[in-house]
Amino acid sequence: MNARVQALAFRGWWEDRATAAREARRYARIFGRNAASVAGLGLVVAFLSIALVGPWIVPYPEDATGTVHLDRKLEAPSRAHWFGTDEVGDDVYTRVVLGARLSLQIGLVITLVAATIGVPLGVVAGYVGGRLGEGIMRITDVFLAVPALVLAVAVVSALGPGIVNAMLAIALVWWPGYVRLVQGKALAISQESYVEAARAVGVGRLRIAFVHLLPNCLSPILVKASMDMGTAILTAASLGFIGLGAQPPFPEWGAMISQPQLPADVVVVFGLSWPRDLLHRAGVQPVRRRPPRRSRSEEPELTQALRNTRRSTQAWEFGPVIG
């Protein structure tokens, strides 16, 4: 008898797996049919591999550490220096490649810190509610009512410039988006019958919030986090560009682009423009669950969000302000 039950359970498990695999294949097929999605994926993979193997493929790894070669400063692109050299003679190609790794880390850290602050607050605001929840949401509203870049600059002006402070500042102004997102989701889920069932058998409020609600909020959080990576990187680059973020020997793209020299700069500049695009694609394209063009309007999420935005302070859908 026992063995029979086990066998049945195994079959059920196996069939579930098979269904999941079929789903995945179907999804891959739909994804593959859309040229923009595939191109986006390709760019993301390229960017990730550059970031991954960067330190081993660059010709002058020491040039990212603040070395000075005045004998070869401001050279035009050549076979020895593909992108030329900057004003202290460092190889621009090396610094651009290593910058990819740095940018990825910056984006990851900012998004992680912001989500770590915002997600628990959102769960509490959505599920526990009451005065505490109300208070959390009002604070969130205030943060969302000021352009993120401005607030980040304000925080950096008090902390002092530097890459760590810049990342901290951006994370400090980034979390409200997660509160807003998670609060809505948690509020919706708390009406589900399994939450009620958990409550009925006497599960504590905190346990319900973090064991039952939180895992079910994960997918929109991940979607938002992946989309935020690109904007977070760009905001950090913006701070670097105006001189408040990473400081010169650090191979950060925004800081590099602001160094006033031409023509080597042009190349750095081109290097900066594409990862933003691909990260944008990385965020936007793969999360499209249905093939584009089937729906009447092509941006259902955006349009819907806008329609729901009666209170126009709910700006999280669009990320922060980059001009």
Partner: protein
Amino acid sequence: MTGYVAGRVLALGVLLFGLLCITFAISHVIPGDPARLAAGPDASEAMVQTLRAQYGLDRSLGTQFVVYTRGLLRGDFGLSLRSRNTVADDLARFFPNSFELVTLSLLLAVAVGVPLGMLSAVYRDTWIDHGSRVMSVSGVAVPAFWLGLMLQLVIALHLGWLPLGGRLNLTTELPPPITHLLLVDAVLRGQWATLGDGLRHAVLPVVTLSFPALASILRVNRAEMLETLHQDYILNARAQGLGGLRVVAKLALRNAMIPTLTMIGLRYGWMLGGTLLVESVFDWPGIGLYAVNSALSSDFVPVMGVTLVIGFNFMLANLLVDLGYAWLDPRLRRTAA
């Protein structure tokens, strides 16, 4: 309707108070010792003490907050730690420049974005549509400062068509102020040479600042138009014999404009944030450049002033958008009142 407006204005007041708390926290709590920061690294202990007393930093946080709030209500944004100018005077000097930049950019973004979005929806999948979609994707993907640098490099440096940056040429005559908006004053005083020079300096920054806004206004308007054009009442109007463009412009556009209006309001605020980057690139003497330069010298008092001004403007824009909603869509007026 009155109740609706009053509620919105009240909400604005609450948000403003919240923003004030944030700027207070940033300027009085985060930096370990603002007085030492202001005095510089080589200052003696006595100097730091004097500064501390001068700025009221030796009092309790509660007292400081009351003083801070009372000052702001009187329009006193404090003294710059470096230049010792009153921040309010500096803001009054720089804000009109930013206001002109942002207004021109928003006008450009709306004037190009809305019609392009409309055309793109009406002529779907034609070259107009493809072209404008390429534009909207690149508008989201290209960082503002990169676009600005590229425009400087190609149009100002290589082609020499427009000046690299700044507000006016050094030799250009300044109009005596009436509204403090340079271009408007130039028109009012009839100084056409100044107007021309001012406009030439404005082209590149305006294009740079408006591009991302243009792209997103275009996207939203296109998506909304596509949806609206499929509605039954449009079909009905067509069946009754109304002509093509009339239906599109009078019936569909008005409904499609509601989400577009939200986007325009949001974008106005974001543009104010974008001035920090664009004004740095083009050396435009506005509050963005003022904030950046102050932040670079660890002078956070002006930065707080700029944050408050930008935040207030952003909230005001959102308020106007909410009211504009009620005007465009009578259904909202009834439910909200």
